[in-house]
Subunit: 401 residues, 2 copies
């Protein structure tokens, strides 16, 4: 029996509220010349108070040493085995634009590109066409018809779009047509298993027509496909955890993923305090809130440790409003590390805290990577966080007599 | 999907170098009257520097409470699930003398013994005959022929030798003929499964002839068999990790195991500094080095805590040469604990450190069992070390989008 099945059996409903405050890319490594991580450098009196009163530890999103993408790392936070419930790039892309995927759909990421008269790729991003232009092209491609299948093309942003194929029995074991290099022709599609032969056939028919439609549209005169992925219905928060769950997130992919797990997506403005405005306004309506802060990750990806520190400090400043709501359980952590020093996601485990009346505090009085390494939670997989949160909210029955 | 499969998918090649410095039997328990372990008693300024600058923790070779043999504990260090990839005594013995095992071979350890005229064992070690004598006897036994099989007998040391059976479809679910007690006859062989029936038949034919050959050779007038084990090809370091790996080890078993995993075995002298001489001389040729120090374990097995401390101090003295090579990742740990106070392998977890530019230092400033218990790695299975080392060398791709 895997963890989800066990939790599903033990979960019971009560009125207690759980808040997951997720700082994307939170973890870091010491900033060159500073000897401290972005989080350690930040002024964070309120987070430190939560760490002092609660219990802390380190989380591995996938396993020690494994750097996760945003999809798997979020699934782990929400209690789903991220290897078993792996989620492909195409599906993430479609979720990110709120496309209503159905069970069995195959989703693919489109990059508009420029090819020369021989079909050789000269620009993998078609000069980063405008989002406006992307919308026009996607609308034209969306009219393409292939017998026996439904085809959806939706714009994403600049040169990026999403393709969804709907037909019975489609496989998704297909290579990318994107060769990742300019000066080459797109790769031919080759099926990795029996059901994928049908997907290859449908996709090739789509590509033939797309070539004709886009031909005159230089610089976006063709497209590349990446990340073929089938969408499977996931068991959701209501079914598994008996939670009425809401997501307060400002970026599309996170909203899409939350919707896939049965959360209601609450509209929210673009600024950081807007997250709290919505949480306060809707606090009585749900028993679980996923609050997502994106800009810690963006700053890390940019290698901008000072900006990452500022975002952390801004989040720290919002904590009193959160505490004033008196959730039964407040979790603060990230989905993965994004050290400014590496300018990318990394494998380093995440600091995490659980603040609750039922927590057993440890000796940790600072919310930092280094301090949390001594915390009472020890080092755990991220998938343990959801059962712990449910437990602290007294939402799990005893196992066995 | 198990860890190895995941790592195999994510591993990529780059020029960064990883060094595993393995002090066999490193971990200890407090020495009676001293209140400190051998490692704590040692003067180890350079190891402490690495611990300060790197990240530390405790490793369990198999699982908490399980005392490992050298084979499983090394497999775990190298990232292989030591229970799934269990390696039998016979195979370890054959690897230890560098016998070129082939997939499907069954290897067995031989002990020459003395029996009386009724076949009752009077000395399980045949008076510990000389290695010279062992060689002569093994050469004679090696001429034995059994229809449908190839039989190899090789000397090991004193009363110990190795037997290898090669034939299609051999099982290895056989009991030892060694009853572990004198005053008894050897046990009859009994097959534990269908394929092992053939192995019993071949072995009995071998034993009949061996009885005739050895009859006049008192005190080594018969032999006992232990540890029937089949050899399976293991996926190696190049295939799994995309590493060009070398082993610098002075004892046969460790070389045999490293060769089995696809490492190149580098010739090395007998003294401790010779390990570094070879590392320095060959450092440009490989991307992974396994450097094995045996004498910490031997001293522990002898209950000689002062000698174990001396070996640790001698290794500490070599660290500056190692650091001067500037490996991207340096790991220092052991394969298992061998506390002088127990005179044997033990289950106690091992102190470990990872020293790398990409490490996130913890608060630990000493390389001891006690200090590492507070380290940023927490307590991990030894199998996590290899993925972590690869990650710190930036040799693992991101998992998922």
């Amino acid at each position: 029996m895997d963890q989800l099945e066990l939790i599903r059996e033990l979960a019971r409903e009560n009125a207690s509220r759980i808040v997951f405050l997720i700082l994307d890319g939170l973890g870091g490594i010491p900033v060159t010349g500073q000897g401290k991580t972005e989080l350690e450098l930040a002024h964070r009196p309120h987070l430190d108070r939560l760490a002092t009163e609660g219990v802390t530890g380190l989380l591995d999103p996938i396993a020690p040493g494994i750097t996760p993408g945003s999809g798997p790392s979020h699934l782990a936070l929400f209690g789903y085995d991220p290897v078993r419930y792996n989620i492909g790039r195409g599906v993430l892309e479609a979720l990110g634009i709120d496309f209503p995927l159905e069970h069995g759909d195959v989703a693919i990421r489109i990059n508009f590109c420029t090819v020369d008269q021989d079909g050789v790729i000269t620009d993998r991003r078609a000069g980063r066409i405008s989002t406006e232009k992307c919308r026009t092209l996607a609308a034209e491609l969306d009219t393409i018809q292939v017998p026996g299948a439904r085809i959806f093309v939706r714009p994403v942003k600049e040169h990026r779009a999403a393709l969804v194929l709907r037909a019975p029995g489609l496989g998704s074991a297909l290579n990318d047509t994107d060769p990742q290099l300019e000066g080459r022709k797109p790769n031919a599609l080759s099926p990795g298993d029996e059901p994928s032969k049908k997907t290859v056939e449908i996709t090739n028919r789509f590509l033939d027509q797309a070539r004709r439609v886009l031909g005159p549209r230089h610089p976006a005169n063709f497209l590349l496909l990446r990340g073929f992925a089938a969408f499977h219905r996931y068991p959701g928060f209501a079914e598994l955890y008996k939670l009425k769950a809401a997501a307060i997130a400002q970026y599309p992919m996170y909203k899409g993923l939350a919707r896939m797990l049965g959360m209601e997506i609450l509209p929210v403005g673009e600024k950081l305090p807007h997250l709290l405005d919505v949480l306060e306004a809707r606090f009585q309506e749900f028993t679980f809130f996923y609050v997502h802060v994106k800009k810690t990750d963006s700053a890390g990806e940019d290698g901008d440790w000072a900006r990452k520190r500022e975002v952390i400090e801004a989040v720290d400043g919002l904590i009193p409003r959160l505490v004033a709501l008196q959730p039964e359980v407040l979790v603060v952590t990230g989905d993965h590390s994004t050290p400014a020093g590496l300018k990318s996601h990394s494998w380093h485990p995440l600091p995490a805290l659980i603040w609750s009346r039922t927590a057993r505090p440890d000796e940790v009085t600072e919310f930092t990577e280094r301090a949390c390494a001594r915390g009472g939670l020890g080092r755990l997989p991220s998938t343990s966080l959801m059962p712990l949160a449910l437990a602290h909210a007294l939402k799990l029955e005893k196992f066995g007599a």
